[in-house]
Symmetry: C2
Subunit: 308 residues, 2 copies
Protein backbone atom coordinates (compact mmCIF):
# COMPACT_ATOMS: atom_id res chain seq x y z
CA UNK A 1 0.00 0.00 0.00
CA UNK A 2 1.36 3.42 -0.93
CA UNK A 3 2.27 5.83 1.78
CA UNK A 4 0.92 9.36 1.53
CA UNK A 5 2.24 12.25 3.61
CA UNK A 6 -0.14 15.16 3.97
CA UNK A 7 0.96 18.45 5.45
CA UNK A 8 -1.71 21.03 6.16
CA UNK A 9 -3.63 22.81 8.85
CA UNK A 10 -5.82 20.99 11.34
CA UNK A 11 -7.97 23.72 12.69
CA UNK A 12 -11.20 25.18 13.96
CA UNK A 13 -13.55 26.89 11.51
CA UNK A 14 -16.60 29.02 12.21
CA UNK A 15 -18.68 29.42 9.07
CA UNK A 16 -21.61 31.58 8.11
CA UNK A 17 -23.57 30.99 4.91
CA UNK A 18 -27.04 32.10 3.76
CA UNK A 19 -28.22 28.73 5.14
CA UNK A 20 -27.00 29.19 8.69
CA UNK A 21 -23.91 29.44 10.85
CA UNK A 22 -21.74 27.16 12.91
CA UNK A 23 -19.80 27.38 16.14
CA UNK A 24 -16.16 26.33 16.07
CA UNK A 25 -16.09 23.09 14.11
CA UNK A 26 -13.39 20.80 12.75
CA UNK A 27 -11.65 22.29 9.74
CA UNK A 28 -8.30 22.90 8.11
CA UNK A 29 -6.72 21.96 4.79
CA UNK A 30 -4.92 18.93 6.24
CA UNK A 31 -8.19 17.64 7.67
CA UNK A 32 -10.12 17.95 4.41
CA UNK A 33 -7.27 16.47 2.37
CA UNK A 34 -6.91 13.57 4.79
CA UNK A 35 -10.62 12.81 4.88
CA UNK A 36 -10.84 12.85 1.08
CA UNK A 37 -7.78 10.63 0.69
CA UNK A 38 -9.18 8.19 3.24
CA UNK A 39 -11.67 7.08 0.59
CA UNK A 40 -8.80 5.23 -1.08
CA UNK A 41 -6.67 2.37 0.20
CA UNK A 42 -3.57 4.29 1.12
CA UNK A 43 -1.46 4.53 4.24
CA UNK A 44 -1.69 8.23 4.97
CA UNK A 45 -0.36 10.49 7.69
CA UNK A 46 -1.18 14.10 8.47
CA UNK A 47 1.66 16.35 9.56
CA UNK A 48 0.28 19.35 11.41
CA UNK A 49 0.03 21.20 14.73
CA UNK A 50 -2.83 21.87 17.16
CA UNK A 51 -3.27 23.41 20.59
CA UNK A 52 -4.27 21.87 23.91
CA UNK A 53 -7.81 23.00 23.16
CA UNK A 54 -8.13 20.55 20.27
CA UNK A 55 -10.52 17.75 21.24
CA UNK A 56 -9.21 14.20 21.30
CA UNK A 57 -12.48 13.17 19.65
CA UNK A 58 -11.46 15.01 16.50
CA UNK A 59 -8.15 13.17 16.40
CA UNK A 60 -10.05 9.95 16.95
CA UNK A 61 -12.28 10.73 13.96
CA UNK A 62 -9.16 10.87 11.80
CA UNK A 63 -7.69 7.72 13.33
CA UNK A 64 -10.91 5.81 12.71
CA UNK A 65 -10.34 6.53 9.03
CA UNK A 66 -6.87 4.96 9.20
CA UNK A 67 -5.12 8.29 9.10
CA UNK A 68 -1.90 8.33 11.08
CA UNK A 69 -1.96 11.35 13.41
CA UNK A 70 1.40 10.83 15.09
CA UNK A 71 2.73 13.72 13.01
CA UNK A 72 0.19 16.13 14.48
CA UNK A 73 2.08 17.98 17.20
CA UNK A 74 -0.03 18.96 20.22
CA UNK A 75 1.11 22.15 21.97
CA UNK A 76 -0.60 21.73 25.33
CA UNK A 77 -0.45 25.39 26.34
CA UNK A 78 -1.20 26.70 22.86
CA UNK A 79 -4.38 27.37 20.96
CA UNK A 80 -5.44 25.73 17.68
CA UNK A 81 -5.46 27.74 14.44
CA UNK A 82 -8.88 29.34 13.98
CA UNK A 83 -10.51 30.70 10.84
CA UNK A 84 -13.90 32.30 10.54
CA UNK A 85 -15.62 33.39 7.35
CA UNK A 86 -18.92 34.49 5.93
CA UNK A 87 -20.09 33.55 2.43
CA UNK A 88 -22.09 35.92 0.28
CA UNK A 89 -25.33 34.98 -1.39
CA UNK A 90 -23.72 33.71 -4.58
CA UNK A 91 -21.37 31.47 -2.55
CA UNK A 92 -18.52 32.44 -4.85
CA UNK A 93 -17.10 35.14 -2.61
CA UNK A 94 -16.54 35.33 1.09
CA UNK A 95 -15.28 37.65 3.80
CA UNK A 96 -12.76 36.43 6.32
CA UNK A 97 -14.06 37.44 9.74
CA UNK A 98 -11.13 36.17 11.79
CA UNK A 99 -7.78 34.45 11.31
CA UNK A 100 -6.02 33.47 14.51
CA UNK A 101 -2.78 31.69 13.65
CA UNK A 102 -2.05 30.66 17.25
CA UNK A 103 0.18 27.55 17.28
CA UNK A 104 0.56 27.76 13.50
CA UNK A 105 2.82 30.76 13.93
CA UNK A 106 5.67 28.50 15.06
CA UNK A 107 4.93 25.39 13.07
CA UNK A 108 7.95 23.21 12.30
CA UNK A 109 6.49 20.16 10.63
CA UNK A 110 8.12 16.84 11.53
CA UNK A 111 7.47 13.92 9.23
CA UNK A 112 7.20 10.69 11.25
CA UNK A 113 10.21 8.44 10.64
CA UNK A 114 8.23 5.65 8.97
CA UNK A 115 6.67 8.07 6.47
CA UNK A 116 9.95 9.52 5.26
CA UNK A 117 9.98 7.05 2.37
CA UNK A 118 6.40 7.86 1.30
CA UNK A 119 5.68 7.51 -2.40
CA UNK A 120 3.39 10.52 -2.47
CA UNK A 121 3.50 13.87 -0.67
CA UNK A 122 0.63 16.35 -0.61
CA UNK A 123 1.70 19.82 0.48
CA UNK A 124 -1.48 21.57 1.60
CA UNK A 125 -1.82 25.33 1.57
CA UNK A 126 0.80 26.70 4.01
CA UNK A 127 3.82 29.01 3.91
CA UNK A 128 5.97 27.73 1.01
CA UNK A 129 9.00 27.43 3.31
CA UNK A 130 7.02 25.14 5.59
CA UNK A 131 6.02 23.09 2.56
CA UNK A 132 9.67 22.90 1.48
CA UNK A 133 10.85 21.79 4.89
CA UNK A 134 8.58 18.73 4.59
CA UNK A 135 10.07 17.82 1.23
CA UNK A 136 13.57 18.12 2.65
CA UNK A 137 12.78 15.57 5.35
CA UNK A 138 11.98 12.83 2.86
CA UNK A 139 14.61 10.07 2.78
CA UNK A 140 14.11 9.36 -0.87
CA UNK A 141 12.57 11.36 -3.66
CA UNK A 142 8.81 10.78 -3.64
CA UNK A 143 7.24 9.51 -6.85
CA UNK A 144 4.78 12.37 -6.77
CA UNK A 145 4.63 15.69 -4.95
CA UNK A 146 1.42 17.73 -5.15
CA UNK A 147 1.29 21.30 -3.86
CA UNK A 148 -1.67 23.55 -3.16
CA UNK A 149 -1.20 27.24 -2.51
CA UNK A 150 -3.12 30.50 -2.51
CA UNK A 151 -2.90 34.22 -3.39
CA UNK A 152 -1.86 35.12 0.17
CA UNK A 153 1.57 33.52 -0.36
CA UNK A 154 1.95 35.24 -3.72
CA UNK A 155 1.45 38.52 -1.92
CA UNK A 156 3.82 37.94 0.98
CA UNK A 157 6.16 35.02 0.18
CA UNK A 158 6.47 34.97 -3.60
CA UNK A 159 10.19 34.26 -3.66
CA UNK A 160 9.84 31.26 -1.33
CA UNK A 161 6.86 30.05 -3.37
CA UNK A 162 8.95 30.13 -6.54
CA UNK A 163 11.69 28.16 -4.80
CA UNK A 164 9.32 25.50 -3.54
CA UNK A 165 7.37 24.92 -6.73
CA UNK A 166 10.59 24.11 -8.56
CA UNK A 167 10.59 20.82 -6.65
CA UNK A 168 7.05 19.62 -7.15
CA UNK A 169 5.22 17.62 -9.82
CA UNK A 170 1.67 18.94 -9.61
CA UNK A 171 0.36 22.30 -8.49
CA UNK A 172 -3.31 22.87 -7.70
CA UNK A 173 -4.34 26.49 -7.81
CA UNK A 174 -7.50 28.40 -8.58
CA UNK A 175 -8.08 30.43 -11.73
CA UNK A 176 -7.60 33.85 -10.17
CA UNK A 177 -4.43 32.69 -8.44
CA UNK A 178 -3.06 31.26 -11.70
CA UNK A 179 -3.66 34.65 -13.29
CA UNK A 180 -2.02 36.46 -10.38
CA UNK A 181 1.03 34.16 -10.38
CA UNK A 182 1.66 34.64 -14.10
CA UNK A 183 0.10 37.96 -15.05
CA UNK A 184 -1.75 36.13 -17.85
CA UNK A 185 -5.50 36.19 -18.33
CA UNK A 186 -5.68 33.14 -20.60
CA UNK A 187 -5.52 30.03 -18.44
CA UNK A 188 -3.80 28.15 -21.26
CA UNK A 189 -0.98 30.67 -21.32
CA UNK A 190 -0.95 30.86 -17.50
CA UNK A 191 -0.61 27.07 -17.25
CA UNK A 192 2.32 27.13 -19.69
CA UNK A 193 4.09 29.77 -17.64
CA UNK A 194 3.54 27.77 -14.46
CA UNK A 195 4.98 24.69 -16.21
CA UNK A 196 8.09 26.74 -16.83
CA UNK A 197 8.31 27.46 -13.10
CA UNK A 198 8.67 23.74 -12.36
CA UNK A 199 5.45 21.72 -12.06
CA UNK A 200 4.97 19.23 -14.90
CA UNK A 201 1.26 19.14 -14.20
CA UNK A 202 -0.92 22.16 -13.50
CA UNK A 203 -4.43 21.80 -12.10
CA UNK A 204 -6.51 24.97 -12.24
CA UNK A 205 -9.60 24.88 -10.03
CA UNK A 206 -12.54 26.96 -11.25
CA UNK A 207 -15.06 26.26 -8.49
CA UNK A 208 -18.55 25.73 -9.92
CA UNK A 209 -16.99 25.71 -13.40
CA UNK A 210 -14.88 22.64 -12.73
CA UNK A 211 -11.15 22.02 -13.00
CA UNK A 212 -8.55 21.97 -15.78
CA UNK A 213 -5.54 19.66 -15.90
CA UNK A 214 -2.60 20.75 -18.08
CA UNK A 215 0.49 18.75 -19.08
CA UNK A 216 2.64 19.90 -21.99
CA UNK A 217 0.15 20.46 -24.79
CA UNK A 218 -2.48 18.21 -23.26
CA UNK A 219 -5.48 19.50 -21.42
CA UNK A 220 -8.37 17.82 -19.61
CA UNK A 221 -11.47 19.60 -18.38
CA UNK A 222 -13.53 18.07 -15.56
CA UNK A 223 -16.75 19.93 -14.90
CA UNK A 224 -18.12 20.41 -11.44
CA UNK A 225 -21.40 18.63 -10.85
CA UNK A 226 -24.18 21.22 -11.25
CA UNK A 227 -25.84 21.40 -7.84
CA UNK A 228 -29.20 22.67 -6.72
CA UNK A 229 -27.54 24.38 -3.85
CA UNK A 230 -24.08 24.76 -2.44
CA UNK A 231 -24.52 24.63 1.29
CA UNK A 232 -20.95 25.44 2.35
CA UNK A 233 -17.97 25.63 -0.02
CA UNK A 234 -15.41 25.49 2.82
CA UNK A 235 -12.86 22.75 2.17
CA UNK A 236 -14.02 21.94 -1.38
CA UNK A 237 -10.65 22.80 -2.92
CA UNK A 238 -8.76 20.78 -0.30
CA UNK A 239 -11.17 17.88 -0.71
CA UNK A 240 -10.56 18.00 -4.44
CA UNK A 241 -6.79 17.92 -3.86
CA UNK A 242 -7.13 15.08 -1.35
CA UNK A 243 -9.28 13.01 -3.69
CA UNK A 244 -6.93 13.69 -6.58
CA UNK A 245 -3.84 12.74 -4.62
CA UNK A 246 -5.42 9.83 -2.79
CA UNK A 247 -6.52 8.26 -6.05
CA UNK A 248 -3.05 8.64 -7.55
CA UNK A 249 -1.38 7.24 -4.42
CA UNK A 250 -3.67 4.22 -4.54
CA UNK A 251 -3.23 3.49 -8.24
CA UNK A 252 0.47 4.48 -8.37
CA UNK A 253 -0.03 5.41 -12.01
CA UNK A 254 1.12 8.97 -12.55
CA UNK A 255 0.39 9.19 -16.27
CA UNK A 256 -1.67 12.01 -17.74
CA UNK A 257 -4.45 9.56 -18.63
CA UNK A 258 -4.72 8.37 -15.04
CA UNK A 259 -4.54 11.92 -13.75
CA UNK A 260 -7.75 12.54 -15.68
CA UNK A 261 -9.39 9.87 -13.51
CA UNK A 262 -7.83 11.48 -10.45
CA UNK A 263 -9.34 14.84 -11.35
CA UNK A 264 -12.76 13.20 -11.70
CA UNK A 265 -12.39 11.51 -8.30
CA UNK A 266 -11.36 14.82 -6.74
CA UNK A 267 -14.32 16.58 -8.33
CA UNK A 268 -16.73 13.88 -7.20
CA UNK A 269 -15.55 14.07 -3.59
CA UNK A 270 -15.62 17.88 -3.63
CA UNK A 271 -19.24 17.73 -4.81
CA UNK A 272 -20.10 15.92 -1.56
CA UNK A 273 -18.09 18.28 0.62
CA UNK A 274 -20.24 21.31 -0.21
CA UNK A 275 -23.51 19.57 0.71
CA UNK A 276 -23.12 20.19 4.47
CA UNK A 277 -21.22 22.41 6.85
CA UNK A 278 -17.51 21.77 7.22
CA UNK A 279 -16.46 18.13 7.30
CA UNK A 280 -19.94 16.79 8.14
CA UNK A 281 -20.66 15.25 4.75
CA UNK A 282 -17.16 13.83 4.34
CA UNK A 283 -17.45 12.11 7.71
CA UNK A 284 -20.65 10.43 6.56
CA UNK A 285 -19.87 9.11 3.15
CA UNK A 286 -19.87 5.50 2.04
CA UNK A 287 -18.22 3.97 -0.99
CA UNK A 288 -21.52 3.21 -2.70
CA UNK A 289 -22.42 6.87 -2.65
CA UNK A 290 -19.04 7.68 -4.17
CA UNK A 291 -19.55 5.09 -6.92
CA UNK A 292 -22.98 6.53 -7.69
CA UNK A 293 -21.53 10.03 -7.86
CA UNK A 294 -18.77 8.87 -10.20
CA UNK A 295 -21.46 7.37 -12.43
CA UNK A 296 -23.17 10.78 -12.43
CA UNK A 297 -19.91 12.32 -13.62
CA UNK A 298 -19.78 9.80 -16.44
CA UNK A 299 -23.31 10.67 -17.53
CA UNK A 300 -22.50 14.35 -17.13
CA UNK A 301 -19.49 14.31 -19.42
CA UNK A 302 -19.28 11.22 -21.60
CA UNK A 303 -20.64 11.24 -25.14
CA UNK A 304 -20.40 8.97 -28.12
CA UNK A 305 -19.42 10.65 -31.36
CA UNK A 306 -18.03 8.48 -34.12
CA UNK A 307 -15.13 10.20 -35.79
CA UNK A 308 -13.82 9.44 -39.25
CA UNK B 1 -32.29 15.33 -46.25
CA UNK B 2 -33.87 17.25 -43.38
CA UNK B 3 -35.05 20.78 -43.96
CA UNK B 4 -33.95 23.42 -41.48
CA UNK B 5 -35.54 26.85 -41.28
CA UNK B 6 -33.38 29.51 -39.62
CA UNK B 7 -34.77 32.89 -38.71
CA UNK B 8 -32.33 35.52 -37.53
CA UNK B 9 -30.61 38.74 -38.43
CA UNK B 10 -28.37 39.08 -41.44
CA UNK B 11 -26.44 42.20 -40.70
CA UNK B 12 -23.36 44.37 -40.66
CA UNK B 13 -21.10 44.29 -37.61
CA UNK B 14 -18.24 46.58 -36.72
CA UNK B 15 -16.11 45.06 -34.00
CA UNK B 16 -13.33 46.32 -31.80
CA UNK B 17 -11.25 43.99 -29.65
CA UNK B 18 -7.86 44.36 -27.96
CA UNK B 19 -6.46 42.75 -31.14
CA UNK B 20 -7.80 45.28 -33.62
CA UNK B 21 -10.95 46.61 -35.21
CA UNK B 22 -13.00 46.01 -38.32
CA UNK B 23 -15.03 48.09 -40.72
CA UNK B 24 -18.56 46.96 -41.44
CA UNK B 25 -18.34 43.22 -41.98
CA UNK B 26 -20.83 40.41 -42.47
CA UNK B 27 -22.59 39.49 -39.24
CA UNK B 28 -25.94 38.69 -37.70
CA UNK B 29 -27.36 35.73 -35.75
CA UNK B 30 -28.97 34.21 -38.87
CA UNK B 31 -25.66 34.35 -40.69
CA UNK B 32 -23.66 32.65 -37.93
CA UNK B 33 -26.34 30.01 -37.38
CA UNK B 34 -26.55 29.31 -41.09
CA UNK B 35 -22.80 29.04 -41.55
CA UNK B 36 -22.48 26.67 -38.59
CA UNK B 37 -25.38 24.50 -39.79
CA UNK B 38 -23.85 24.35 -43.27
CA UNK B 39 -21.21 22.01 -41.87
CA UNK B 40 -23.91 19.30 -41.84
CA UNK B 41 -25.84 17.76 -44.70
CA UNK B 42 -29.10 19.61 -44.26
CA UNK B 43 -31.30 21.61 -46.58
CA UNK B 44 -31.36 24.93 -44.77
CA UNK B 45 -32.92 28.31 -45.48
CA UNK B 46 -32.38 31.62 -43.74
CA UNK B 47 -35.43 33.84 -43.25
CA UNK B 48 -34.32 37.42 -42.71
CA UNK B 49 -34.29 40.96 -44.09
CA UNK B 50 -31.54 43.23 -45.45
CA UNK B 51 -31.31 46.63 -47.12
CA UNK B 52 -30.29 47.62 -50.62
CA UNK B 53 -26.83 48.28 -49.22
CA UNK B 54 -26.26 44.60 -48.54
CA UNK B 55 -23.69 43.24 -51.01
CA UNK B 56 -24.75 40.46 -53.35
CA UNK B 57 -21.35 38.85 -52.64
CA UNK B 58 -22.42 38.19 -49.06
CA UNK B 59 -25.59 36.47 -50.26
CA UNK B 60 -23.46 34.49 -52.67
CA UNK B 61 -21.22 33.35 -49.80
CA UNK B 62 -24.28 31.85 -48.15
CA UNK B 63 -25.58 30.31 -51.38
CA UNK B 64 -22.20 28.68 -52.02
CA UNK B 65 -22.71 26.86 -48.75
CA UNK B 66 -26.05 25.52 -49.98
CA UNK B 67 -28.06 27.86 -47.80
CA UNK B 68 -31.33 28.91 -49.41
CA UNK B 69 -31.53 32.72 -49.28
CA UNK B 70 -34.90 33.15 -51.01
CA UNK B 71 -36.38 33.93 -47.60
CA UNK B 72 -34.06 36.91 -47.12
CA UNK B 73 -36.14 39.92 -48.10
CA UNK B 74 -34.21 42.75 -49.75
CA UNK B 75 -35.62 46.22 -49.11
CA UNK B 76 -33.98 48.16 -51.91
CA UNK B 77 -34.43 51.61 -50.36
CA UNK B 78 -33.69 50.46 -46.82
CA UNK B 79 -30.50 49.98 -44.84
CA UNK B 80 -29.26 46.74 -43.34
CA UNK B 81 -29.29 46.20 -39.57
CA UNK B 82 -26.00 47.39 -38.10
CA UNK B 83 -24.38 46.59 -34.78
CA UNK B 84 -21.12 47.85 -33.42
CA UNK B 85 -19.41 46.78 -30.23
CA UNK B 86 -16.18 46.97 -28.33
CA UNK B 87 -14.85 44.14 -26.20
CA UNK B 88 -12.98 44.72 -22.97
CA UNK B 89 -9.61 43.18 -22.22
CA UNK B 90 -11.04 40.06 -20.59
CA UNK B 91 -13.28 39.43 -23.65
CA UNK B 92 -16.12 38.51 -21.34
CA UNK B 93 -17.81 41.89 -21.39
CA UNK B 94 -18.48 44.38 -24.14
CA UNK B 95 -19.97 47.78 -24.78
CA UNK B 96 -22.46 48.27 -27.57
CA UNK B 97 -21.34 51.32 -29.51
CA UNK B 98 -24.22 51.43 -32.01
CA UNK B 99 -27.40 49.55 -32.81
CA UNK B 100 -29.17 50.70 -35.97
CA UNK B 101 -32.25 48.54 -36.50
CA UNK B 102 -32.98 49.97 -39.95
CA UNK B 103 -35.00 47.42 -42.03
CA UNK B 104 -35.26 45.16 -38.99
CA UNK B 105 -37.75 47.58 -37.47
CA UNK B 106 -40.46 46.36 -39.84
CA UNK B 107 -39.44 42.75 -40.27
CA UNK B 108 -42.26 40.39 -41.15
CA UNK B 109 -40.53 37.09 -41.79
CA UNK B 110 -41.96 35.00 -44.63
CA UNK B 111 -41.04 31.32 -44.69
CA UNK B 112 -40.55 30.15 -48.31
CA UNK B 113 -43.38 27.81 -49.34
CA UNK B 114 -41.15 24.75 -49.78
CA UNK B 115 -39.72 25.14 -46.28
CA UNK B 116 -43.08 25.23 -44.51
CA UNK B 117 -42.80 21.49 -43.84
CA UNK B 118 -39.29 21.71 -42.41
CA UNK B 119 -38.44 19.13 -39.77
CA UNK B 120 -36.40 21.57 -37.72
CA UNK B 121 -36.80 25.28 -36.99
CA UNK B 122 -34.13 27.45 -35.37
CA UNK B 123 -35.48 30.72 -34.03
CA UNK B 124 -32.49 33.01 -33.70
CA UNK B 125 -32.41 35.90 -31.27
CA UNK B 126 -35.19 38.30 -32.33
CA UNK B 127 -38.35 39.78 -30.86
CA UNK B 128 -40.32 36.80 -29.52
CA UNK B 129 -43.39 37.81 -31.57
CA UNK B 130 -41.32 37.64 -34.75
CA UNK B 131 -40.08 34.23 -33.67
CA UNK B 132 -43.68 33.13 -33.04
CA UNK B 133 -44.85 34.36 -36.44
CA UNK B 134 -42.37 31.99 -38.09
CA UNK B 135 -43.68 29.04 -36.13
CA UNK B 136 -47.25 29.92 -37.13
CA UNK B 137 -46.34 29.73 -40.80
CA UNK B 138 -45.27 26.11 -40.62
CA UNK B 139 -47.69 23.74 -42.38
CA UNK B 140 -47.02 20.92 -40.00
CA UNK B 141 -45.58 20.78 -36.53
CA UNK B 142 -41.78 20.62 -36.81
CA UNK B 143 -40.07 17.71 -35.11
CA UNK B 144 -37.81 20.15 -33.27
CA UNK B 145 -37.96 23.86 -32.55
CA UNK B 146 -34.91 25.53 -31.01
CA UNK B 147 -35.06 29.10 -29.72
CA UNK B 148 -32.32 31.49 -28.77
CA UNK B 149 -33.07 34.72 -26.91
CA UNK B 150 -31.40 37.36 -24.76
CA UNK B 151 -31.88 39.60 -21.75
CA UNK B 152 -33.05 42.51 -23.94
CA UNK B 153 -36.35 40.68 -24.65
CA UNK B 154 -36.77 39.82 -20.97
CA UNK B 155 -36.58 43.52 -20.24
CA UNK B 156 -38.96 44.76 -22.91
CA UNK B 157 -41.06 41.83 -24.23
CA UNK B 158 -41.25 39.37 -21.36
CA UNK B 159 -44.92 38.50 -21.88
CA UNK B 160 -44.39 37.71 -25.57
CA UNK B 161 -41.30 35.71 -24.69
CA UNK B 162 -43.30 33.60 -22.24
CA UNK B 163 -45.93 33.00 -24.93
CA UNK B 164 -43.39 31.94 -27.52
CA UNK B 165 -41.31 29.61 -25.39
CA UNK B 166 -44.44 27.58 -24.59
CA UNK B 167 -44.23 26.29 -28.15
CA UNK B 168 -40.61 25.31 -28.42
CA UNK B 169 -38.56 22.20 -27.60
CA UNK B 170 -35.14 23.60 -26.81
CA UNK B 171 -34.10 27.00 -25.50
CA UNK B 172 -30.51 28.21 -25.65
CA UNK B 173 -29.75 30.99 -23.22
CA UNK B 174 -26.71 32.20 -21.33
CA UNK B 175 -26.20 31.78 -17.60
CA UNK B 176 -26.97 35.37 -16.61
CA UNK B 177 -30.10 35.33 -18.78
CA UNK B 178 -31.27 32.07 -17.22
CA UNK B 179 -30.88 33.69 -13.82
CA UNK B 180 -32.72 36.81 -14.94
CA UNK B 181 -35.59 34.82 -16.49
CA UNK B 182 -36.16 32.78 -13.35
CA UNK B 183 -34.81 34.82 -10.47
CA UNK B 184 -32.79 31.79 -9.41
CA UNK B 185 -29.03 31.80 -8.90
CA UNK B 186 -28.56 28.02 -9.09
CA UNK B 187 -28.55 27.01 -12.75
CA UNK B 188 -30.05 23.63 -11.82
CA UNK B 189 -33.05 25.34 -10.25
CA UNK B 190 -33.20 27.90 -13.07
CA UNK B 191 -33.27 25.14 -15.69
CA UNK B 192 -36.12 23.40 -13.85
CA UNK B 193 -38.15 26.62 -13.80
CA UNK B 194 -37.52 27.15 -17.51
CA UNK B 195 -38.68 23.56 -18.16
CA UNK B 196 -41.91 24.52 -16.47
CA UNK B 197 -42.30 27.44 -18.89
CA UNK B 198 -42.37 25.04 -21.84
CA UNK B 199 -39.04 23.91 -23.24
CA UNK B 200 -38.30 20.21 -22.64
CA UNK B 201 -34.60 20.86 -23.14
CA UNK B 202 -32.68 23.78 -21.69
CA UNK B 203 -29.19 24.66 -22.90
CA UNK B 204 -27.35 27.15 -20.73
CA UNK B 205 -24.32 28.72 -22.39
CA UNK B 206 -21.51 29.75 -20.04
CA UNK B 207 -19.02 31.16 -22.56
CA UNK B 208 -15.48 30.09 -21.68
CA UNK B 209 -16.94 27.76 -19.04
CA UNK B 210 -18.84 25.67 -21.59
CA UNK B 211 -22.50 24.74 -21.88
CA UNK B 212 -25.01 22.77 -19.85
CA UNK B 213 -27.84 20.68 -21.31
CA UNK B 214 -30.79 19.92 -19.03
CA UNK B 215 -33.70 17.51 -19.61
CA UNK B 216 -35.84 16.39 -16.69
CA UNK B 217 -33.32 15.22 -14.09
CA UNK B 218 -30.57 14.66 -16.64
CA UNK B 219 -27.74 17.04 -17.16
CA UNK B 220 -24.79 17.12 -19.54
CA UNK B 221 -21.85 19.49 -19.28
CA UNK B 222 -19.75 20.27 -22.37
CA UNK B 223 -16.70 22.36 -21.60
CA UNK B 224 -15.46 25.03 -23.93
CA UNK B 225 -12.07 24.28 -25.42
CA UNK B 226 -9.49 26.22 -23.39
CA UNK B 227 -7.95 28.66 -25.86
CA UNK B 228 -4.71 30.60 -25.83
CA UNK B 229 -6.57 33.62 -26.96
CA UNK B 230 -10.10 34.55 -27.92
CA UNK B 231 -9.74 36.87 -30.87
CA UNK B 232 -13.37 37.91 -31.27
CA UNK B 233 -16.30 36.32 -29.41
CA UNK B 234 -18.92 37.81 -31.74
CA UNK B 235 -21.23 35.11 -33.05
CA UNK B 236 -19.93 32.33 -30.82
CA UNK B 237 -23.32 31.77 -29.18
CA UNK B 238 -25.10 31.71 -32.54
CA UNK B 239 -22.47 29.41 -34.00
CA UNK B 240 -23.01 27.09 -31.05
CA UNK B 241 -26.77 27.13 -31.68
CA UNK B 242 -26.29 26.56 -35.41
CA UNK B 243 -23.93 23.64 -34.87
CA UNK B 244 -26.24 22.14 -32.25
CA UNK B 245 -29.31 22.44 -34.45
CA UNK B 246 -27.57 21.49 -37.69
CA UNK B 247 -26.26 18.28 -36.14
CA UNK B 248 -29.71 17.37 -34.83
CA UNK B 249 -31.34 18.17 -38.18
CA UNK B 250 -28.84 15.95 -39.97
CA UNK B 251 -29.13 13.01 -37.58
CA UNK B 252 -32.88 13.39 -36.94
CA UNK B 253 -32.36 11.84 -33.54
CA UNK B 254 -33.76 14.15 -30.90
CA UNK B 255 -32.96 11.98 -27.87
CA UNK B 256 -31.08 13.37 -24.88
CA UNK B 257 -28.11 11.11 -25.68
CA UNK B 258 -27.84 12.50 -29.19
CA UNK B 259 -28.31 16.04 -27.94
CA UNK B 260 -25.10 15.52 -25.95
CA UNK B 261 -23.33 14.98 -29.27
CA UNK B 262 -25.09 18.04 -30.67
CA UNK B 263 -23.81 20.18 -27.79
CA UNK B 264 -20.27 18.95 -28.48
CA UNK B 265 -20.59 19.79 -32.18
CA UNK B 266 -21.93 23.23 -31.30
CA UNK B 267 -19.06 23.80 -28.86
CA UNK B 268 -16.47 22.63 -31.39
CA UNK B 269 -17.76 24.99 -34.08
CA UNK B 270 -17.98 27.89 -31.63
CA UNK B 271 -14.33 27.29 -30.72
CA UNK B 272 -13.41 28.05 -34.34
CA UNK B 273 -15.66 31.08 -34.58
CA UNK B 274 -13.72 33.06 -31.95
CA UNK B 275 -10.36 32.54 -33.67
CA UNK B 276 -10.87 35.37 -36.18
CA UNK B 277 -13.00 38.46 -36.65
CA UNK B 278 -16.67 37.93 -37.47
CA UNK B 279 -17.44 35.11 -39.88
CA UNK B 280 -13.91 34.86 -41.26
CA UNK B 281 -12.98 31.59 -39.62
CA UNK B 282 -16.35 29.98 -40.31
CA UNK B 283 -16.00 30.82 -44.00
CA UNK B 284 -12.66 29.04 -44.09
CA UNK B 285 -13.26 25.79 -42.31
CA UNK B 286 -12.97 22.32 -43.74
CA UNK B 287 -14.43 19.10 -42.44
CA UNK B 288 -11.04 17.67 -41.52
CA UNK B 289 -10.39 20.57 -39.19
CA UNK B 290 -13.79 19.95 -37.61
CA UNK B 291 -13.01 16.27 -37.11
CA UNK B 292 -9.70 17.14 -35.51
CA UNK B 293 -11.39 19.61 -33.19
CA UNK B 294 -14.00 17.00 -32.22
CA UNK B 295 -11.14 14.65 -31.38
CA UNK B 296 -9.68 17.39 -29.17
CA UNK B 297 -13.01 17.57 -27.37
CA UNK B 298 -12.88 13.82 -26.79
CA UNK B 299 -9.41 14.07 -25.31
CA UNK B 300 -10.50 17.07 -23.31
CA UNK B 301 -13.43 15.36 -21.63
CA UNK B 302 -13.34 11.59 -21.94
CA UNK B 303 -11.90 9.45 -19.16
CA UNK B 304 -11.89 5.80 -18.30
CA UNK B 305 -12.90 4.95 -14.76
CA UNK B 306 -14.04 1.41 -14.04
CA UNK B 307 -17.01 1.43 -11.73
CA UNK B 308 -18.15 -1.44 -9.60
Amino acid sequence: MSKLVIVGTVAFDAIETPFGKTDKILGGAGTFIGLAASNFQVDSAIVSIVGGDFPQTYLDLLKERNIDVSGIEIVEDGKTFFWSGKYHNDMNSRDTLATELNVLEHFNPVVPEIYKDAEVVMLGNLHPSVQMSVLKQMNKKPKLVVLDTMNFWMDCALEELHKTIKHIDVITINDEEARQLTGEYSLVVAARKIHEMGPKYVVIKKGEHGALLFHDDNVFYAPALPLEEVFDPTGAGDTFAGGFTGYLAKTEDFSFENMKNAVIHGSALASFCVEKFGTERMLNLDSEEVQRRLRQFQQLTQFDIELT
